[in-house]
């Protein structure tokens, strides 16, 4: 009896040791590149520090109280929310539509598969430059078309009313293919038996899509929504290249605002507080959405 127990314990110990060894590389990477920077950001956010000098002044929660009363930060947060909602509403249905089209069309539509995937292969910075020329007021695509029909120049990026929506259009152009691939993977997970069975039962393509395929794809669409959500909340590169957050604060995002404060205005302490604020807000929103989505799944 006793021997047996110790053997079990021995085995357990050996398993633990092995687990520790196998997990170590990942844990070290996580600690060095994720946990430590997060903690350090929160520590830095309690200092008044210009980012380069050796003397930091401890000011406690001073940066945080400024942050809560900072209108610009909340405008940036609102812009982030608009991007998030519109991204989910536009990108996922668009991706699903493209995937459905390709799935129904079969091999003869492979050329579209390649064409539609191209935007995702380009770097955001390149896309930003490309579109800032394409959408330019003077000589851009829209202005040229408008002039052809006798209209005036169209200012899409310089007008605070349209700038954010213009940028969202570009973001959707870039990321819709990602959700296309995601949905195509979703389709390939549905077994052909299901498709054949529904055809034998006399379902039309429309009926198959709405009543069979879509319900089966809901789990992948849910995770796509979460990905899109987190992605749009921490969005940075395209906006930075195309508008730099301007004109005024019309396209300012939390991330661009953080960058400006930290690196252009020599205010690293406050920049860290913004980053900390972003971390908290994004985590809360993600947890909240996941809870809602999971509850529905249990019903």
């Amino acid at each position: 009896m006793e021997q047996k127990a110790s053997l079990a314990i021995q085995r357990q110990r050996a398993t633990r040791k092995a687990a520790a060894i196998f997990l170590a590389p990942v844990m070290i990477l996580l600690v060095v590149y994720i946990f430590y920077p997060i903690i350090d950001t929160f520590i830095t956010s309690t200092y008044k520090w210009n980012g380069i000098s050796a003397n930091k002044t401890f000011i406690g929660l001073g940066n945080w109280s400024t942050l809560i009363h900072d209108m610009n930060f909340w405008i940036a947060f609102k812009n982030n929310m608009i991007i998030m909602i519109l991204s989910i509403i536009i990108q996922i249905p668009l991706g699903l539509a493209m995937a459905t089209f390709l799935d129904f069309g079969g091999k003869k539509l492979n050329i579209f598969k390649v064409l539609w995937f191209i935007p995702l292969l380009m770097s955001s910075v390149a896309i930003g430059f490309l579109f800032s020329y394409a959408l330019a007021t003077n000589g851009g695509i829209f202005s040229t078309i408008s002039k052809l029909f006798g209209g005036g120049n169209i200012d899409l990026l310089g007008n605070p009313k349209f700038a954010l929506y213009t940028v969202i259009g570009v973001i959707c152009w870039q990321f819709a293919p990602f959700y296309m691939v995601y949905c195509m993977a979703g389709y390939s997970n549905i077994s052909t038996d299901v498709f054949e069975a529904s055809r034998i039962d006399g379902a039309t393509r429309g009926q198959y899509f709405w009543n069979v395929a879509l319900p089966l794809m809901i789990p992948s669409l849910k995770s796509a929504a979460i990905l899109s959500m987190v992605g749009s909340l921490k969005y940075f590169d395209l906006i930075y290249v195309m508008t730099g957050g301007g004109p005024g604060t019309s396209t300012e995002l939390m991330a661009t605002y953080m960058y400006k404060n930290s690196f252009s205005q020599f205010n690293m302490g406050y920049g860290s507080a913004i980053a900390g604020g972003m971390f908290i807000l994004i985590s809360l929103i993600a947890l909240f959405t996941m809870k809602i989505l999971n509850r529905n799944a249990e019903d």
Binding site: I52, N153, P247, S264
Partner: protein
Amino acid sequence: MKRKVISILLCAAMVSTMLAGCGSSSTNTTQETTEAGTTEADASVSSSDDSKEIIFWNTGTEGVDKQLMDMVVKKFNETTTSGYTVKSVPTQNDTYKEKLVIAMSSGECPDIYTSWAGGPMNEYIEAGFAQPIDDLMNASDLPDKLMEASLEQAKYKDKTYGVPFLNVAVSGIYYNTEIFEKYNIEVPKTITELEAACDTLVANGITPFALANATKWTGSMYFMNLAARKGGLEPFQKAVDGSGTFEDECFKYAGEKIQEWVKKGYFPEGVNSLSEDDGQSKQLIYQETAAMECIGSWMTGTFKSDSEEFAQKLGWFPFPAGDDASIDSSILIGTIGDNFIHFNCTDEKQAAAFEFASMFTDDDVIQFMADNGKIPPVKNAADLITDPMTTQILKAATDAGAVQLWYDQYLPPAVATAHLDSCQELFGLTMTPEEADKKFQAAMEEYNNEQK
């Protein structure tokens, strides 16, 4: 059989990539160690720095600036007896400022780097990333060669921290002489005349001013000049030291004029989406859809290197006088020196770096600068320059009652950002002049309070 061949091929491929990986990684490590060596020495500013390479960060990514940097670096590396070599690392203008801050915050500041003096330079000095060079400076012939105003700009708390080397750059207005002739427009002497000229141009379907204001500091040129013509420099200086305010009449005037001009169509449509870095303002000048541009005089060199032939068409005049005759209309906004080299190294290395920096005032180098539309900040600049437009600019600069450094360089970074942001909103008509001035003033007050 086939399968065997494939597997052997795959193995070979794997092994070769492994070897290739090893090869490149070993060279990487050596590079990293040398870099790490420099960094450590920089952080502690010690003389035990073994690296004989001086890393020089600058903004000479294209055109004359790049040729100039390459020329002086080559000259130094070939002729020096100090045992050091200089390696130039150029970065594009507007990203440069941020890249430098990031480098400093992680303790990887280069040995020598350029700045535009003013507020940011003071931050670098306070943070300990720029060392005073008074001894080297006084022992050299630079004080005799360089313009006094340029040396003045390189000082902070009575110590010299930089070597001015690039340009005398003042803001003024470039104009297309052919367009002016075609519509019988005289070079305007007053702001009223300038407005009359603009009205004529608008009536003929030509945009008066080429401006790309996504970059923000470009629009600030109009603001600074208008404010200086309305109230001189005193209101600005008072606002900075706290005895005055940015809600002064002259700043309100500047904001109102800008908005009036935007409404009258003096600026291109979508002005806040055009980017100076992408050359979208000079594009309008080249397309001849815009007739004038108020910008720093470094553009002479750019226009010339883009097209010598087109540059012949262009003329220059200083920002016209205001209505009030008691205000000195010779005041210019600009910089004497433009770029300054700062030293984040000491002793022997600093001496070598200083030797490098002083080569920018060698006769052949300043001649090269003068030939390419620049005004080197040296006392004998007038003798070197043959180009009529550059001569005119230099004359305006030397005759100026005062030269005020650009607001966005002169002011502390946080205040400068507040000014640039609110100024951009003025052009976008999304903020009233009063609101913009209030924001500007609030940032200045906050900074002054923190300093107390």
